[in-house]
Amino acid sequence: MRRYVAGRLLQATIVVLLVTTLTFVLVHLAPGDPITALLDKPGVTEEVRQQWRASLGLDRPVGEQYLRWVSNTMRGDLGYSIKYRRPVADVIADALPRTLLLVGLALTLSFALGIIVAVLQAERPGGARDRWLGRVFLVLYSVPDFWLALVVLLVFAYRLPILPSGGIVEPVTHDFLPLAERILDRLQHLVLPVGTLTLLATAAISRHQRSALLEVMPSDWMRTAIAKGLSRRRAVRRHALRNALLPSITLAGLYLPALVTGALLIEKVFSWPGMGLLAADAIPSSDYLLITAVVLVTSIAVAIGALVADLATALADPRIRVD
C-alpha cells in the first residue's frame, strides 16, 4: 500500500509539473499580455508599458521566467498578480476558503440527497415515484448550470425577494449584526449558490447511484434477504446500498477537485468571490502567474482526488487490491 501511494504521488507530481509547464507556456504564447491589457488607455506610452514589464520581470525570455517561477514556487512564493496587484498566494488564500465552504457544503448535501433519491427510486423501479424523480433529475442533469443559476437568482432574489442576490454577506449591515444574525445572514447568502450546485450535482449522483442499486438488486443475496422476510425497502437500505456505494465513492473522488477549483459559473452568477471567479477574472486579464497558480492548485486537487477515490474504493471493496 505504501509503495502504491508513493508511486501514485510521484506520478501526480510529474502530472502537476507537466500541466503547469504547459499552462505557463500557453498563456505566454496567447495574444496580448497582462501589461497591455492593464494599461489599455489613451496616452499610455509603450515606454511606460515596457517599464512595467521590466519591473515585473515580464520582459525576460519565457524560459527564464519559467525557471524563476519554478524556483520561487518551490519556496512557496507564487509570484504577483498583476490584475489584483497583490501576491498570488494572498489572492488565493482569500478565495480558497470561500470556495471550500461553498462547494464543500454543496457536495455534502448533494451526496446525501443523491443517495436518498436513488434509494427512493430503486425501492420501486419503474414505479410512479421512480419515474417522476427520474424525470425531475433528468431535467436538472440536462440544464446548463449558468441557466439554472440565473433562473434561481431571478426567482428568489428578484421576483420573490426572499434571499440575497449575491455576495458572501450583506455588504453594509453584516458587521453590525449580533452574532446570531450574522450567522443567519451568512447562511442566507449561501442558500442560492449552494442550492443550485446541490441540485445540479444531486442529479448526477442520484442517476449513478440508482443504476448501481439496480445492478445489485437481482443478486442472490438480495433475493435471500427478501426471502427471509425482509421488506424490499429494508433490503435496499440495509444490504443493496452498502454494496452499491462504489460509484458514489468514485464520483466523490472526481468531485473532490471542485472543492478548490470552485464552480466558475455559479460563483460568477452569485458574485461569490471564490476560486472559480478568480480563474474567470485572471484569464481575460492574461494574469500569467495567477492563471498558473490556479492551474497548479487545480491539478494538485485532481491528483489527490483521483488517489483518494482509488484508495477509498479499495477500502470499500475488498475485491480490489491497490498494490
Binding site: T36, Y158, E170
Partner: protein
Amino acid sequence: MIQKPRSFRPHAARWTHVALAGLVLAGCRDVQKQPAVAGPNDVGGTLVATQPAEPGTLLPPLISTSIERQITDLLYDRLADIGDDLNTVGDRGFKKQLAAGWEWAPDSLSIVFHIDPRARWHDGVPVRASDVRYSVALMKDPALGSPGLPLITNIDSVAVRDSLTAVAYFKRHTPEQFYDLVYQVSIVPEHILHNTPAAQLKTADVARHGVGSGRFRLSKWEPGKRIELLADTANYRGRPKLDRIVYVPTPDFNSAVTRFFAGDADFFEQLRPEHIAKIASDTARRAITYPNLGYAYLALNNVDAKQPGQPHPIFSDRAVRRALTMAVDRRAMLKNVFGTYGMPLYGPFPHALPVADTTLPQLPYDTVRARALLDSAGWLVGPDGVRSRNGQRLEFGITTPVSSAARKQYAVLLQDAFKRVGAAARIDEMDNAAFTSKNTDRGFDTSIELYQTDPSPSGFKQSWSTSGLGKDGSNFASYSNPAVDALLDSATLTFDPSRTRAYARRAFEMIMEDAPGIWLYEPPTVAGVHKRIHTTAMRADGYWSGMADWWIPAAERTARDRIGLRPAP
C-alpha cells in the same frame, strides 16, 4: 448625526414577505416627492454601488482602470478641480481644492499655489507644500512607471517656498499647463509613501491604503467582497452628505442588474436599453442619463495589417472610405441597437466636449452614391456580387471585442450594410487581450473602437494626428493629413478658447471629409439609482465628481442608511 444602530435583519425580514403573498416586489416602497435641495437633517445614509470589478491599486499615479479612478477621485484631492464646462485652457472655471489660491508668474512659466491650511490627510497630518512637490516628482519618476507620466511632461518641477506654498515650474507656457498639473496630478501623502522606493510602489501594500485628503476616506477593503468609504467628517471642504459609499464587485452583468433591481444595491452605472424600459415602471428606482466622453467608430485602417508601413490595399483609397461611410444608415443602426436611448456620433468627438460641433456636414446615407463612387474608383462588381479592382477583392475583416454586446450587434449590421454595396466583410470577434493587442499593432482591416477621450483638445492629437501613429498613440486608423496636424496643433497652442474651437472645428471637418472612420455612436450612459438617493449634476469626465454632495432625505432612509459613522466592530 450619529445614530444608535438598530438590529438589522436584512434578509430575515424578507422571509415575511413570502407569507404576505402578493406583496413581493421590492419596488413597492416608499417613494416621496424629491426635495430640490438637502436640508440640515439630510446628512447621512449609505450608498451601495455595484461595480463589475474592483480596483487593483488606490495610489493615483498608478491607476489605470475606471473603478480605480472613481475611488481615488473620492479619496484624494487635487490642487484644483476642472469646472463643469470642462474648460482646459488657462485656469478659467477651475474650482479650488487643496489650493486655496494661486498666482501666475509674469512669464507664465511658474504658478504659485497656496495650500489650504485647513487641509489634513485622513490620518490627521496636515497637507503641506512638500506633498505637492513629492506628488509631482513621484509621478515623473520613470522608476514608478506612472501611466499618466506622458501627460505631465511639460511640468518641470515643483519647489517648496514654505510649508504652505508650492511653486510649479513649467518647461513651456502652454494653454493647458494649469490643467496638466491640477487635473492629471492628485496630491498624495509624502509622509506615508516616501519610505517606499518608487520602483517598488507597484507591488507595495502601501499603494492600497488610500490615505488621501478627499471628502471620503477608506474605511475597509475586503478583496472580492466590498470597499467601504466613510465620510471624512472633519474635511476642510466640508463633510460629505452621505455617511458611506460601499462598492460591491459583481463581475457578471446580469447578476449586477438583478442585485440592483432586487434592492441589494442603490446604484448601477451602466443600464442597458431593456432595463431602462423596465425601470420606467419601477416605483423605487429611476434612470439617470449622464454625459460621458466616449465615442464609438469603425476605424478604417490606412495601413496594411499584413505589411506594416505599406498602404492598405482597400482603405488607403479615400473614395472607398467615403463610399463605405455612405453605405451605412447610422441612425437606423443606432435605433436598432440602442432603441430610443442611442446617442448619434456626429464626428470624431463626443458632443459633451467644449470643442464639439454637432452641426458639421455629414456624409449622407446614400447607397446609390456609394455604389457610384465605388464604380468610378474602379471597384467593379464580380459574378459573386463582391467588388474587386486589379485582382484585389473588396473583402475585409471587422474586428470587435467579444465582451461588447453593442459592438457585436454593430458588426453584424455593418456587415449587412457593406454587402449591399458589394463589399464582403467578415466579423473577427476576439477577447479583450487579443483585441487590444491588434489595436496596438494596428493589425486589423477595420475595427470597432470605443474610445474614451479626455477633456483636452490635445487628446485629439493622439487620435487623429500623425503624432498618434505609433504604438504610443491612439490613431488606430493610421490616418495622416498634414493639414489636420497643423489645425490640431494650432487648436492646442492657442490661448483663446474661441480660436481653439474654430481650429478644432475645421480639423474635424477635414477628418470627416477624409472618412478614416465611420462615426457610429456615443455610448448611452444611463445609470440606475434608487429614488431615495438624490444626485447632483454629473460631469462628462466622471459622473462621481459630485458624489460627496449626493444625499438621502432623512425621511426616506432605510435600515442601512441608519448605521451612522460608527466603524464596524
